[in-house]
Amino acid sequence: MELYQQIRSYLVENLLYIDDASQYDNDTSFIGEGLIDSMGVMELVTYVQTRFGVTVEEHEVTPDNFDSVNKLVAFIRGKHAIKIQPKGNHAGSGRVAAQQTTLPG
C-alpha cells in the first residue's frame, strides 16, 4: 500500500472519528482542525515507530513532523531516506492516495 494511503487508512481506522475523510486533505492540521486530539498524536508516534520501524527521538515529536499527513510522510521518508517517485497530483493539495509511494515493512 502507498505510504500516504497507509497513513490515511491508519488515521481513519484508528484515530479519525469522521464519516467522510475525503473532506480533509493531506495538509490539514491534526490539532488545529480538531482531527485528532493530543492523545491521538501520542498514539500516532507509537504507530510510526512500530509500523515503519523508525526511532522517533523526543525532539522530533513536534508539529513540524506530526501535524498533518504530508508532514508525517516527509518525516518518515526523511527517516528512511527513501527516493520518492511521485505520481499524480502534488501531495501538498492532494486528497487521499494522491501519492504513489511504497515503503518497506
Binding site: 481506522e13 484508528n14 484515530l15 479519525l16 472519528y17 469522521i18 464519516d19 473532506q23 490539514t28 490539532i31 488545529g32 482542525e33 480538531g34 482531527l35 485528532i36 486530539d37 493530543s38 492523545m39 491521538g40 498524536v41 501520542m42 523526543e58 525532539h59 515529536v61 513536534t62 508539529p63 506530526f66
Partner: protein, 511 residues
C-alpha cells in the same frame, strides 16, 4: 464581581504587561481586553442579548481566549466545545442550550458544517469565523469574520447589566443517561472557585502559567480565568502532544506554574528533563485522575523544590479538594482537604455523617456548588440537594471517599458506573446507546477496566448476531459516532451477559 472583572481590573493595573502568549503571538492586557470588547460590541450589534448562550468551538488560541471574555462582556454565557467534538454532539449541545451564536474557524465553514448547524438549530443566528481575512467578506445574514470584527468594531467596553447571579458559562459533562449535560456556572460560582484556587496556589502577578489542556476542559479553562484574575501571564499551547516543545516553553517563558494530568506526567517521566532549564517552576498541579504514588515520588525526585498539588474536583463544583504539598510525602494517596472557604463531609446512604475510616459519599458545601444542569431538573435534583440551611443546596458527588484521623480525604471509587479514561468522564450508557444503534447488536455492556496509562480503559461486551456483527464493524461504527476517548479499547462478543435476578446487567462480573 463578574468573571470578566478579573481581566478588566488587571488591564487597569498593568495594561502593558503580557497577558497571553500563544504560538508566536504575545498580547498585552490592553490588547487582549480590547479584542474582547470589539467582539462583545459585534455580538451585541448582531442581536445577542443578556443571558444568551454562545458556543466557542475553537482549538486553544488567542481568539478562543478573547471569545470567552467577549461573550461575557456582551452579557451572555459561553460554553467551550472541544474542537475534536464530532458534528452530532456539537449540534446536540447547541440545540440543548438553544445557543444563539457560535464562534468557530474557517475550516469548519469550509467543510460545509455551518449551513447544517444553522438548519438544525433554529436559535442559532450568528456564526463568527476565525481565520477569514477582513477582505474575504464572509459577512452575510449569519456569518461574520473575527478579524473583520476586530477592524470594524470599537474597543470601548460595552455597558453590561449582568449581575453575579447570571450565568457565566455552561460546562458540558457526561451524563449517566448518555447525553451530555450542561453544568450551569454563574459568575459568583466561577469567581469564588477561581479565587479559592488562587489562594491555595499562592498565585501572584509574578506567576507565568503554562496551559497545555483544552479550554473546553474546565481544568484548562480555569488556568486562563485564574491567571487573568491575578494579573499573571498565560502561556497557551494547543496540545500536550509535543512535550519537548512545552518543556522548552517553560524555559523560554520562565514558567512558574504548570497544570497537568496523569497522562502528561506519564509522558514526561521517561524523558531526560535535565536538558531543559525548569528552574523557574514553582508549582505543578495534578487533577482529572489520581497520580500513582510511584509517579508522585518520581516527579518530586526529578523536580526538587517544585510544589506538587494533588487535587480532586468535579464539574459540578469545579475544584473540591487539594492536598497541601507538604502533606504529599506523609499521605501520597490522599487528595487532601476542602478548598479554602468551603467544607466537605462524608455521608452514608441514610444521610448520617461518617467519621474517620468509614466509607461513604462525599458531600460538598460552598459557593462553588454550581447552579445545576441546564434544562434537566431531574438530574439537578439528584446531585444538588438541600443543605443545612433553608434554601441552600449542597452537591452530592456520587464519589465514595474515606477520611483519615487527621481529616484528609481519600478517593475510594465512583458510586455509579462512570468511567474515568484519559481524564475524561464517560458514561457507559452513552457508548452502549451507540452500540445498540448498530444492526445485529442484541445486548451491550460497557465498563471501565484498570489501565496504567489511561486510568481506566473502556471495555465493551456484546451479545450479537454473528452474521451481521464483527469486531472490526463494531469499532468502525463506534469511531464514526463517538469521540475518540469513548471508543472501546477492548471488545468482546459473547453469548450471554451476566445479570442480576432483576435482570440488570452485572457490569462488575465482566471486568
Amino acid at each position: 464581581m463578574l468573571v470578566q472583572d478579573g481581566l478588566q481590573r488587571s488591564r487597569l493595573r498593568c495594561p502593558d504587561k503580557i497577558a497571553l502568549v500563544c504560538s508566536d503571538q504575545r498580547l498585552t492586557y490592553a490588547v487582549l481586553d480590547d479584542m474582547a470588547n470589539r467582539l462583545a460590541n459585534a455580538l451585541l450589534a448582531y442581536g445577542v442579548k443578556r443571558g444568551n448562550r454562545i458556543g466557542i468551538y475553537l482549538s486553544n488560541s488567542i481568539e478562543a481566549v478573547a471569545s470567552i471574555f467577549g461573550v461575557l462582556k456582551a452579557g451572555a454565557a459561553f460554553f467551550v466545545i472541544n474542537r475534536a467534538t464530532r458534528f452530532e454532539k456539537l449540534s446536540y449541545i447547541l440545540a440543548n442550550c438553544g445557543a444563539t451564536a457560535l464562534i468557530t474557524d474557517s475550516a469548519v465553514a469550509a467543510q460545509g458544517t455551518v449551513p447544517k448547524l444553522l438548519s438544525s438549530n433554529p436559535h442559532l443566528a450568528v456564526v463568527v469565523l476565525v481565520g477569514t481575512r477582513p477582505e474575504d467578506n464572509v459577512a452575510n445574514g449569519h456569518q461574520i469574520g473575527f478579524d473583520a470584527i476586530q477592524e470594524r468594531f470599537p474597543s470601548t467596553r460595552p455597558r453590561v447589566d449582568s449581575i453575579d447571579l447570571d450565568l457565566a458559562c455552561l460546562v458540558y459533562t457526561s451524563g449517566s443517561t448518555g447525553e451530555p449535560k450542561g453544568v450551569m456556572c454563574d459568575h459568583s460560582n466561577v469567581v469564588f472557585v477561581a479565587n479559592s484556587v488562587i489562594t491555595y496556589l499562592e498565585n501572584t502577578e509574578a506567576d507565568v502559567v503554562l496551559n497545555v489542556l483544552p479550554l473546553s476542559f474546565s481544568y484548562g479553562l480555569y488556568q486562563a480565568l485564574m491567571t487573568f484574575t491575578f494579573g499573571g501571564t498565560l502561556v497557551l499551547e494547543s496540545t500536550f502532544a509535543y512535550p519537548v516543545m512545552f518543556l522548552q516553553r517553560i524555559a523560554d517563558e520562565q514558567v512558574t506554574g504548570f497544570a497537568g494530568v496523569p497522562t502528561i506526567f506519564s509522558a514526561l517521566l521517561p524523558m531526560d528533563l535535565s536538558r531543559f532549564d525548569l528552574s523557574s517552576l514553582r508549582y505543578i498541579t495534578n487533577a482529572a485522575a489520581a497520580l500513582p504514588p510511584t509517579h508522585i515520588r518520581q516527579i518530586l525526585e526529578r523536580l526538587p523544590g517544585v510544589k506538587l498539588y494533588s487535587m480532586y474536583g468535579q464539574t459540578e463544583t469545579k475544584r473540591t479538594l487539594y492536598l497541601p504539598p507538604e502533606q504529599l510525602s506523609i499521605r501520597p494517596g490522599s487528595v487532601g482537604i476542602a478548598i479554602p472557604g468551603t467544607e466537605v463531609w462524608i455521608e452514608n446512604e441514610d444521610g448520617a455523617r461518617l467519621g474517620p475510616n468509614q466509607i461513604g459519599e462525599l458531600v460538598v458545601r460552598g459557593r462553588h456548588v454550581m447552579r445545576g444542569y441546564w434544562h434537566d431538573p431531574k438530574s439537578t435534583a439528584e446531585r444538588f440537594r438541600p443543605g443545612p440551611l433553608p434554601g441552600e443546596r449542597v452537591c452530592y458527588t456520587g464519589d465514595l471517599f474515606r477520611m483519615d484521623e487527621e481529616g484528609y480525604f481519600y478517593f475510594v471509587s465512583r458510586k455509579d458506573d462512570i468511567i474515568n479514561t484519559r481524564g475524561e468522564k464517560v458514561a457507559p450508557k452513552e457508548v452502549e446507546n451507540i452500540l445498540h444503534r448498530m444492526p445485529g447488536v442484541i445486548e451491550a455492556a460497557v465498563l471501565g477496566v484498570p489501565d496504567p496509562v489511561l486510568g481506566e480503559a473502556i471495555k465493551a461486551v456484546l451479545v450479537a448476531d454473528s452474521s451481521l456483527v464483527t469486531k472490526a464493524k463494531v469499532l468502525a461504527h463506534c469511531r464514526a459516532h463517538l469521540e475518540d476517548f469513548m471508543v472501546p479499547k477492548y471488545l468482546e462478543i459473547t453469548d450471554e451477559l451476566p445479570k442480576t435476578t432483576s435482570g440488570k446487567i452485572l457490569r462488575r462480573a465482566l471486568v
